[in-house]
Amino acid sequence: MVIQRFWLVLGCCCLVAACGQAAEQPEPLRHGLVYCAEGNPESFNPQLGTSGTTIDATSAQLYDRLIDYDAERQQFEPALALSWQALDDGKRYRFELRQDVQFHRTKWFAPSRPFSATDVLFSFNRWLQPDHPYHHVGGGSYPFFNSSGLIHLIERVEAIDSYTVDIHLAQADSSFLANVATDFAVILSAEYGDQLLQAGTPEEIDRQPIGTGPFRFVEFRKDIGIRYYRHENYWRKPPGIRQLFYTITPNANKRMLKLLTGECDVIPYPLVDKLAELSTDTEIEVQSAVNPNIAYWAFNTERPPFDQPLVRQALAHAINRPAIIQTIYDGNARLATGVLPETSWAFSEEDQTYPFDPERARALLAEAGYADGFSMSIWAMPVQRAYNPNAERMAELIQSDLARIGVRATMVTYEWNTFRRRLANGEHDSVLIGWVADNADPDNFFRPILSCAAKASGNNRANWCDPEFDQLLIDAISATNRDQRVNLYQEIERAVTSAVPIVPIANSLRFQAQRANVEGVELPPYGGLSFRRARIVQDNEKAEQQP
């Protein structure tokens, strides 16, 4: 009898607990969104890096740019600059700035004035002027601005009045606006910079960031996550969610499981082979978008034997790229026919790659004096990128292809940030990596990854520098006629093909999976992810069914 009563009471307790849980979710969960990011950001200032992980985590959330690029309508649109015009035959650009734009108000900074021309000068001069007090803070290397040539293109930035800025260029450049609209050209707060200088802690500017963007920074714990709160005084419509949390989840399998259990609302780079499985689940939606990217295999052309074009051509002949596409991308990618992807306006159908031909590869190796082969390392990224969902598996495939021509390859991998640092030091023989364009200009596929400037800034993974090739790039960028430019880019493609500093492998789609009740997190064709329009659809029907 007593025992029966005990069970009754216990049952009631369970029932109450269950009902309690089914009741409406607490406020933080209803108005918050969890994004399971694939890695830690390198810093909170996109000016300092080119890693897609950092851009996705910071740029569109914390900051605004002078102008934005609307990929759908293929035109620039006003952001912090209301209007802009080219003067002096395209050698000077004038930007009229927006008024009443507020910076973030946080525990460590209270802005006393809205955004003005001072902030534009501060942000641009930080990477432009080597004697700027902040130039060397955070490493002093600005890979995007170096490799895109913006650092040399801009002569100076001048404030005409509080809300007018003139940018003087060394020569007319058709890619200037496109570069200013990228995720790297963000606007920082000059007032915050001054405050930190006085406090003697300038490095905090990239760790406790202040911007004008839709979210303000709250905290970052390495390997755990980043917390953002909505910027209530945002000059556009503030976001529909109050809190945004980036959970660091490098394991792709775990990311997918966490999406299924609802611990993640949105995940990047879901596993391609599990995509079909995910799509049938009605609670999960999978998005894919054409992404201007290229996965390639770069040879460190400074190290023998990769300094010989013959060896590089042999290796290019040795790998079975169609098999790689089939295995790694599961049909979600296109075999690259050159460096430029199909979506670029300078693309041509002409195949500029080396066919799979082990016999020819062995002959070329013998010609180069390596008839018995050699040993080499293949560095494989530890993270999934849009252009390469599984670099380690790809390295294994290449390894077995190379074994057939007598080349013994070993795979090397490190944690992502360490990996990038060591690559920049040129410690690799060859690396499987790739590039996602920051803007629609074809120049963005060559200058940031294959120019001498890119080599200097450590972004040229092939460590390849050819002055003639650089001249071709400059010719292509100074030409104003589009047909002329298309021809020049074809010539550039041919130059890459004959020298083979890199072997283009694939252009792939970018995937993202999310819970069905999340809206407004679209995959951008260029640049980083934005949560500005994100919204959680409240599940009112479900709540009503519960007593």
Binding site: V218, R221, K222, I224, F245, K254, L257
Partner: protein, 343 residues
């Protein structure tokens, strides 16, 4: 007792000293600059590097350098991480808090569930339940933790949805990290949704605690059962029965207290084993404790963090073992008498 305690404490200090010598030597064995490995200051031309060089007597002999090393260690100046450039000591403390919470809860569960089950099995010796309990314990004991954790995640989190896969709490609950132990952090915070956060934390906590508790639980169960059987065979139990004491009284007053003696002695050893399982569990459940911190540091060649993680785990294991031994000797005087043949 005093002599015994002194010996234990001296042994403890001696082991700690050996540990610091080992850690100090590691700085020279790791690749790269020893001072960078120690302090995490990578830029050898900076003023911070020069100051650190002076403070740690790097111009002097190895002995002086070791002195500087221990001095900084004791003061809690463990340098900065090579990756995050954050102070290692404070990051380590919160990681330790998270680890302690998990391991102590697991130890508690193991003891509270394991010991009674062992006693029960002993009373029912060779009965059906005894065989079932022992059978389950043997099979549970032989499952490696990394596999068990994955299985539990697949079953309870993915299939049944009874638990989340990872982390301490739903990250949307903005609980400031103070001690690292999530239950304590929630309790001392003035967060608006404290109740909900606490529920959520428990919801996240139960699976890793269970996974971690299984191994020591099965061990404790077996040890308790054997100890209990041993005690039950003694003459004083028979004498108690002969005097007509009730079975319950014999159990509660005579056999259980005496059988706990070998069990308590095992607790220290079990804790050491728990620690190695803790590292695996933390990595699998993304628990922000010392274990996952250490593993990350190994991946990233973050030498200051690596040393700190080693030091913390080793000190914790040593400390718990010594504490258990001291308690054991204090609670069961016959043990230390046996040790020194005193009467």
């Amino acid at each position: 007792m005093i002599r015994y305690s002194l010996r234990r404490v001296v042994l403890f200090l001696f082991t700690l000293w050996l540990l610091t010598v080992f850690l100090f030597a590691l700085n020279y064995f790791f690749p790269g600059d020893p001072l960078t490995n120690m302090t995490g200051i990578a830029d050898s031309s900076s003023t911070a590097y020069a100051t650190a060089m002076e403070q740690r007597y790097f111009a002097g002999s190895l002995l002086e350098q070791y002195g500087g090393f221990v001095h900084h260690l004791v003061q809690g100046e463990w340098g900065r991480s090579l990756v995050t450039e954050r102070p290692v000591f404070s990051d380590g403390l919160t990681a330790l808090g998270a680890s302690l919470e998990l391991s102590l809860l697991a130890m508690m569960v193991a003891f509270i569930v394991g010991a009674p089950l062992g006693i029960y099995a002993a009373i029912q010796q060779r009965g059906l339940l005894d065989r079932i309990i022992m059978g389950i314990s043997l099979s549970a004991y032989s499952i490696p933790v990394f596999w068990l954790a994955q299985l539990c995640i697949l079953l309870f989190a993915v299939k049944l949805g009874w638990a989340p896969i990872s982390s301490q709490i739903n990250p949307l609950y903005d609980i400031p990290t103070m001690s690292g132990a999530i239950l304590i952090d929630i309790s001392i915070s003035d967060y608006e949704y404290k109740q909900a956060a606490l529920r959520d934390a428990l919801y996240h906590l139960w699976l890793p605690v269970t996974v971690l508790a299984i191994m020591p639980l099965t061990m404790l169960m077996r040890i308790t059962r054997n100890a209990m059987l041993d005690v039950l065979a003694h003459n004083y139990i028979r004498a108690a029965r002969a005097r007509g004491l009730s079975e319950a009284r014999i159990l509660l007053r005579h056999s259980i207290p005496n059988s706990m003696q070998p069990v308590v002695r095992q607790l220290g050893l079990q804790f050491s084993m728990l620690m190695s399982n803790l590292i695996v569990t933390e990595v699998i459940f993304n628990w922000p404790g010392v274990g996952s911190w250490l593993v990350k540091a190994i991946y990233e060649r973050d030498y200051p963090v690596l040393q700190a993680g080693l030091l913390m785990l080793a000190t914790l294991i040593l400390f718990v073992n010594v504490a258990v031994e001291l308690f054991h000797a204090w609670r069961y005087p016959q043990v230390r008498k046996e040790l020194y043949a005193e009467h």
